[in-house]
């Protein structure tokens, strides 16, 4: 062999090693996150129980049921609709690992867009995982993409035409679960997922439904509750009650002409009262610096502090940042007060959900204390 052959072999080997490392990292996102359900979880199932067509696909995901055995309302909570908005997923995980239902039923889907947990968004330089110190030591969870993995639904159309409204959106929104509702059985991968969730809501006669999200600190709708008009009184009452606890939430009513979103389509196509909550997540924002695990968990970014001083963000972004614990605490407290507000309006058909950690406790102890 001549010298240039040796050089070629070295480069091939180096390329192979780098590819192996990258592949390991890439494939690690297919390893499922492990939750430790509370003793009060009565059964677990899969989303495909409501639509067998998605069984065995990356759209299928775990469903946790808390059945009190006492008649009452059925409440559903979805986390992980957008897997790059971790507060929703972690709030759902806290419920799965802690909640106790003494009246009615609670259904939790922590990773509603399971496909989106298997990849990160291209060009965003996001971490694949983040770690929380929990009761049992450090636990690692996936930080995914906003939409489903392109490997599971490809290619994106130039224009996404929502079914059945015909509303046109950018092509990448075709992989967004929260633009897919009410979905259709013979539709795209994501339309089938949306359809399965709507089938669940219908089949289980869900009275109150929650979809937990996050958004960049600079966008208009953060620290907000968005509801279908059916739920406006319930939400307004909850916002006032939250205000007594010094928690500010803005109230937004779901636009009637903006289709595909949970708060619009669940409300239109089922009997449920639909609520979507948003917190403020700097690791999603356009103004952020290094997108690290620390930013996801601690929510502290120097550029957002500067933006706050310049009055370019919608929240008071101080030295404590917007840590994950605070964002999860907001979701849990908002959920609690909205359920109470629903109960107040429907005393004949209420749900009592206990063991939800208090806002102040989650903020001061850290959310890890409420994960096993």
């Amino acid at each position: 062999m001549e010298k240039h052959h040796y050089i070629a072999v070295v480069f091939l080997l180096a390329g192979g090693i780098l590819s192996a490392i990258a592949s390991k990292d890439f494939l690690s996102m297919r390893d499922a996150d492990i939750l430790h359900p509370s003793q009060f979880v009565t059964t677990t199932g899969m989303l495909s129980d409501y639509l067998p067509e998605i069984k065995g696909t990356y759209g299928d995901t775990k469903v946790y049921y808390f059945n009190s055995g006492n008649p009452g309302a059925t409440v559903i909570l979805l986390g992980g609709t957008h897997p790059n908005e971790p507060a929703g997923f972690i709030a759902a995980a806290v419920l799965v690992e802690n909640a106790q239902v003494t009246k009615g039923r609670l259904i939790v889907i922590p990773q509603s867009c399971a496909s989106g947990f298997t990849a990160t968004d291209p060009l965003e330089a996001c971490p694949t995982h983040f770690t929380i110190n929990t009761q049992s030591g450090p636990r690692t969870f996936r930080y995914g993409a906003r939409g489903g993995n392109p490997l599971h639904q490809w290619p994106d159309p130039l224009v996404y035409r929502h079914y059945p409204s015909g509303q046109q959106l950018s092509g990448m929104e075709s992989r967004n679960l929260n633009r897919s509702y009410p979905g259709r059985v013979d539709g795209s991968f994501m339309e089938r997922n949306g359809f399965a969730i709507v089938q669940l809501i219908k089949k289980e006669n869900v009275d109150v439904a929650f979809d937990l999200h996050e958004a960049a600190p600079e966008v208009m709708i953060i620290n907000a509750i968005i509801t279908h008009e059916k739920g406006s009184d319930i939400a307004a009452n909850a916002v006032l009650n939250l205000e007594f606890e010094d928690l500010q939430y803005s109230l937004e009513i779901s636009p009637k002409n903006f289709h595909g979103l949970s708060h619009r389509e669940w409300g239109d196509s089922t009997m449920t009262f639909a609520f979507l909550m948003e917190t403020s997540n700097p690791s999603q924002g356009r103004l952020r610096g290094v997108t690290s695990e620390a930013l996801v968990v601690e929510g502290n970014d120097p550029f957002y502090k500067t933006a706050s001083k310049l009055d370019n963000v919608r929240i008071t972004y101080d030295s404590s940042g917007e840590p994950l614990s605070l964002r999860v605490a907001r979701h849990l407290q908002g959920f609690k007060r909205l359920v109470e507000s629903y109960n107040e309006a429907h005393p004949e058909n209420s749900a009592i959900i206990e063991n939800i950690p208090e806002y102040n406790a989650v903020v001061s102890d850290g959310v890890g204390k409420y994960l096993k």
């Binding site: 208009m220 709708i221 406006s232 009184d233 939400a235 307004a236 009452n237 916002v239 006032l240 205000e243 007594f244 500010q248 803005s250 109230l251 937004e252 009513i253 779901s254 636009p255 009637k256 002409n257 903006f258 919608r314």
Partner: protein, 184 residues
């Protein structure tokens, strides 16, 4: 005789002061028509506040001059919402025209106007302030969540136009002055 003269002067002085005082303290009458100026969801919050203090109020997001005739007080909740305007399918200019029309209709039938600005900082700024100014200047009384008055925007209008103003820390605290401002 001198004593009587002093009494007459005091009475005359009181008569001069009364209109200024009553401008802000005169009670408002029910029923109330609540409408938005900018199509934010704060209207829903305002309706909930009225409900909590048992005021007879009807919320019509896009009230027109025709809706005014059945009410005795017009409550305007100003604040721009692109989502709200988008949902209503109208432009900012169309919304501005509607608000002007409703205010004119209310003024024509000598109806009194309350402004309830409860959206704080998010309902201030370039897009909202045209609505805020228009409504504030047409009102006889304002209840404003302090966060929305950081720069004294509403205080300055209230002082210049001699409009009654109550500043509250939180939305929920608006219930008390709201209840107190209406005849039962």
């Amino acid at each position: 005789m001198k004593f009587i003269r002093v009494l007459v002067m005091i009475a005359f002085g009181a008569l001069l002061i009364t209109p200024l005082y009553s401008q802000s303290k005169e009670k408002f009458e029910q029923p109330i028509l609540i409408t938005s100026a900018g199509q934010s969801a704060d209207v829903t919050m305002a309706a909930m506040l009225c409900k909590k203090v048992n005021l007879n109020a009807k919320a019509v997001n896009r009230a027109t001059a025709a809706d005014v005739k059945d009410a005795k007080t017009l409550m305007i909740v100003p604040g721009f919402s692109s989502k709200g305007l988008g949902a209503a399918g109208i432009s900012r200019e169309q919304e501005m025209d509607r608000v002007k029309e409703v205010i004119a209709a209310a003024q024509k039938q000598k109806m009194r106007i309350i402004v309830l600005h409860i959206g704080g900082k998010p309902r201030r700024g370039q897009q909202s302030d045209d609505f805020n100014k228009l409504c504030a200047e047409a009102s006889q009384y304002m209840i404003v969540v302090k966060q929305g008055n950081d720069d004294n925007f509403f205080s300055d209008i209230a002082a210049a136009k001699k409009i009654g103003l109550d500043l509250v820390e939180k939305i929920a605290e608006a219930a008390k002055p709201l209840e107190a401002s209406f005849t039962k």
